[in-house]
Symmetry: D2
Subunit: 294 residues, 4 copies
Amino acid sequence: MTTTFKNVGIIGKYNDSSVGETVGVLYRYLVERQVNVLLDAGTAQTNPELDMPSVDRDSMAEQAELIVVVGGDGTLLNAARSLAQVSVPLVGINLGRLGFLTDISPDALKDCMDEILAGNYLEEERFLLHASILRNGEHISESHAFNDVVLHKWDIARMIEIDTYIDDKYVSTIRADGLIVSTPTGSTAYALSGGGPIIQSNLETVVLVPICPHTMSNRPIVVDANSKIEVVVGTSHSAQVTCDGQINLGLVAHDRVVIKKHPNPVRLIHPPAYDYFEILRAKLRWGGRLEDKG
Amino acid sequence: MTTTFKNVGIIGKYNDSSVGETVGVLYRYLVERQVNVLLDAGTAQTNPELDMPSVDRDSMAEQAELIVVVGGDGTLLNAARSLAQVSVPLVGINLGRLGFLTDISPDALKDCMDEILAGNYLEEERFLLHASILRNGEHISESHAFNDVVLHKWDIARMIEIDTYIDDKYVSTIRADGLIVSTPTGSTAYALSGGGPIIQSNLETVVLVPICPHTMSNRPIVVDANSKIEVVVGTSHSAQVTCDGQINLGLVAHDRVVIKKHPNPVRLIHPPAYDYFEILRAKLRWGGRLEDKG
Amino acid sequence: MTTTFKNVGIIGKYNDSSVGETVGVLYRYLVERQVNVLLDAGTAQTNPELDMPSVDRDSMAEQAELIVVVGGDGTLLNAARSLAQVSVPLVGINLGRLGFLTDISPDALKDCMDEILAGNYLEEERFLLHASILRNGEHISESHAFNDVVLHKWDIARMIEIDTYIDDKYVSTIRADGLIVSTPTGSTAYALSGGGPIIQSNLETVVLVPICPHTMSNRPIVVDANSKIEVVVGTSHSAQVTCDGQINLGLVAHDRVVIKKHPNPVRLIHPPAYDYFEILRAKLRWGGRLEDKG
Amino acid sequence: MTTTFKNVGIIGKYNDSSVGETVGVLYRYLVERQVNVLLDAGTAQTNPELDMPSVDRDSMAEQAELIVVVGGDGTLLNAARSLAQVSVPLVGINLGRLGFLTDISPDALKDCMDEILAGNYLEEERFLLHASILRNGEHISESHAFNDVVLHKWDIARMIEIDTYIDDKYVSTIRADGLIVSTPTGSTAYALSGGGPIIQSNLETVVLVPICPHTMSNRPIVVDANSKIEVVVGTSHSAQVTCDGQINLGLVAHDRVVIKKHPNPVRLIHPPAYDYFEILRAKLRWGGRLEDKG
C-alpha cells in the first residue's frame, strides 16, 4: 500500500502510563505499513516499556508529515501550541472518552488510520491565538493558545477592572473575575462555562466572555479573529494570564495583553465520517432527533 | 456645493406624527442644497401637513442614490427589507432616542448631512436574511429579515420541537419556546434577551438562539452566514415564523423554514465620527473607562 | 394486614391507554389487600378494558384517604389542582420514566405500596398557587397552579410590559415575553428553562422569572410565598395567563392577576427511601460523586 | 427631646479620609441631642482631625444601643460581622453613592436621624452565616459572613471539584471555578454576578451558586437557611474560602466547610420611608413604571 504520509510522528499524553498501550498498537501498525515513525521523546520517557527510538519536538516538527496525538484534548492543545511554527497535520486519538479534538477511539484506530493513510480524510483549518504581554510598552512575555487566553484575578478576593480595545478602538471597561478570549475551538471549553456561545469550528472569529461581570449587560462579544485585541488590567490588583489553562504569565496593573490570530493555521485531520455536530451532540448530551424519540 | 448624492429619498416612521417635524426640516435642508428629494408615499400620508410630492417605494428604489430614514430602528429595519433588491445606501436619523441603526440625532442632522453630502462618511455593509417556508416540499411563503427570523410556538401552553440543519447536516433537536436566527445586526435585539452573544456588526455570521430551551446545554450557536440553515417544526403543534418582529408567517407540523443570507448587502452610511462600540456602550449602559471613574 | 388507608383512589393519565396496565395491576393489588378502591371516572373511560366501578372527582375527594396517581408529572399536577379543596395525600407512580413528582416506577409499585400501606412513608407538604384575574376591579376568572402561573404575550410579535407588586408595593416594570410565577415544585419545570434557580421543595417561597426580558438586570426574584403577588399587563397588547401549562385565561390591557398561596397544602406521600436530591441529580443529569469517578 | 437611643456608636470606613466630614457632622449632631457617642477606635485613627474620645469594638458592642455605620456596604458588612455576638441595631449612611445596606445619604442624615432617634423607624432582621473549616475532622478555622461564603479555586489554571451536602444528605458534585453560598443580603452582590437570583431580604433562605460550572445543568439552588450546608473540596488542588470578599481561609483537599446560619440576627434600622424594591430598582438600573414612560 502506498501511503500519503511517509513520516508520521506520535505524541502521547504525558504522565499517564495508560497511553502506552495505544501508542504501542499505533507504532506497530505504522511500522507494518512501512511508515517511518517519529516518537516524541517525552512520550518515550513516560512509557519506557515501548523501547522505541525517539526524537525531540523540533526534529519531529521538521520531519513529520502527519502527527498522531494520543491522549485527551489537553494533549492535542499542547501539541498544537508547540508546533505552531509548522503547520503539520494533526490527528487525535482519545483514550476511550470522546474528545472535541481527539475524535478517534482506540477501537477505531486501525480502520481510521487505514483511511487516512490512503489519503481518504477530511482536513480542516483552525487557528491559534498569540498573546504577548507589554509592560510600560516593553514586550515581557508571550505564549500561544489553541482554546483560550484567560485574564483572571490573582488576589481572589476582589474583582479586577479590565479595559478592552479592538483594533485600537476602546470597547468597554468591565469589573469582573476575569475575561476569556476564546477561539471557536475553545468555545466549547471554559468559555462555555462562562456563558459564551458555541462557535462553529471553522469561523474566523474570537469570543470575549467576561467571567462573573458586575454589570449584567457585559455580555459575550464575538469579534473578527483578524482583529488586534488588547486587554489592559486597570486596577492596582495583580492578575494573571493563562493560555489553555496550562501556561501562566503574571501581570501587574496597567500591563497590556495583545492578542492576535497566529499566522499559521492548525491543520486537523479527521476520518471521512467525521461530523462536528455529532461530536457536539455527544459531548453536550443533547437529545436525539425527533424520529428517534419515544 | 456639489453633493455626492443628487437624488435622496426620505422615509419616515409610519403612524407617528411626531416624525413630521424632522422630516420637514430634512426636506427643506435638502431642497436648499439643490438635492432632488423623493418622499416616501406612506410617510407623506402620515404627515399630510408636509404637503410635498411623493413617490412609491419602487420608484424610490429606482431613483434614489441615498435614502434617509427618520424614526426608530424598526423604521430602518422595515426600509432595509423593502429595499432588499437594490443596495441603496441608507442613513438613519432617530427621533431623539439613540438607536443602534438610527445613530444620528435630530440636533446633529444638519452637521451630519453636510458631511455626508460632501462625501465624508463611513459606509458599512451588513446583510439581510431570506426565509422561505416549504410545506410538503412546496414553497408557500417567504420574507426578509434584517434583525432576525424567529420560529415561535403559537399555541402558547406547550413547548415545540425543532430540528435544525446546517448545509443539510443535522445539528440538533431542541424542545423550546422557539428559536431565534439572528444576524449580527439583530444580536443586540431579541437575540440578546434570549441569551445570545453580541456579534460585531461586520461579521458574516448568524447566531441561533434557543428560547427557553428544555435542555440547558442547548446554547446559542454562531454559524457561517453563508450556510443554508433549515429549521423544521417537529410536533403536531402549530408554530409561527416572525421576521424582525413585524411579519408573521404561519406554520404547521413538518414545515421547513430555509434561511439564507440575502445576496445583496445592506449599505449603511454613518457620519465620520461613528463608533460602533460607543453606541453599544450607550445602549447597553456599560460603565465608563477607568480614567473616567471616581 | 391492617392498612393505614382503607379507601384509596386511583387517577390515571387521560388519553393514554398505556396507563391501563399499571392501573390494572394496582387495582388488583389493592383489592387483594381489602382496600376499597375508588377509580376515577375519567380514567375508567380512557381504559374501558379495566371494567371497574368508578366515581367522580368530588366523590373521590370526599371518600379517599389516599390517592394514587398513575402517569407523568402532568397527571399529578392536574390531580393536585382538582383536589385543592381537600388535602388528601397523593402518591405518584410513573409509567417508566422518572418524574419529579411521580417518583415510583411500575417495577417498584408493589414494594413501595406495601411500605406505604403499612404506614411506613415520608409525607411532605407543598403548596398550590391561586390566581385570580381582575378586570376593572371585578373578579372575572381564576385557577390553581401547582407548578406555575405564567403571564405570556399572546400576539407573539411584540414584547409586553408587566408591572409587578408584592404586598401592594411596586417592584418593577419589565418588558419581556412574559413572567413566570413559580412554586418550588415548578422551579425545575418551565422556570428553569427561563433561567430561574432550583428551589428546595419544602420552602415557602415563590420565584418570579422574567421570560426573555429586554433589560438584562431584570433577574429572577425569590419572594415569600405568603405575599400577595400582583402582575398587571401594561400595554395595549393582549396577553394570556396559563396555569401549569394547561389552563389558559385571556387578558386585556390593565387586567390584574392576583396570585396567592392556596391555604390548603398538597400532601405528597413518598416511599421511605425517597431522596429529593437523588431525583434532581437523575433528572438534571448531574454527574456522580467524586469517589464514583474514573 | 427624649431619644430612644442614649448611647450611639459610630463606625466609619477605614483607610478613607473622606469619611471624616460626615462622621464629624454626625458626631456634633448627636452631641447636640445629648446622646452619648461612642466613636470606633479604628475610625478615630483614620480621622485624627476629629479629635474625639474613642472606644474599642468590644466596648462599643457592650454599651451602644444603636450603631451608625458611615461608608459603603463593605463597611457595614464588616461592622455586622464584628458585632455578631450582640444584636445591636445598625443604621447605614453612605458617602454619596447609594448602597444596598447604607441607604441614607449624607444630605438626608439629619432628617433621617431625627426620625430614628424619635423612635420612628423600620427595623428588619437579617442573618449572618457562620463558616467553620474541618480538616481530618478537626475544627481549624472559622469566620462570619453577611453576604457570602465563597469557595474558590486557588491555583487558577484548573477547575476544582466540590461535593455539597444539605443536612448530611448528598446533593451534588460540581466541577467549577468555585461555589458561592449567599444570604439574601448577598444575593445582590457576587452571587448575582455568578448568575444567582435576587432573594427578598427577609427570607430565611440561602442560595448556592456554582461559579462557571462545567455542567450547564448545575444551576443555583435555593435552600433553607436553617440547614447545615457542607461543601467539601474533592481534588488534590488547593482552594480558598473567602467571607464577604474580605476574609480568606486556606483549604486543602478533603477539607470540609460547614456553613450554618448564625443564631443572632443582624438588626438593620431604616428611616420610615425605606423601600427595599426602590433600592433594587435604583441599584440595578431598572426602568420606571409604565405611567412614567414616554
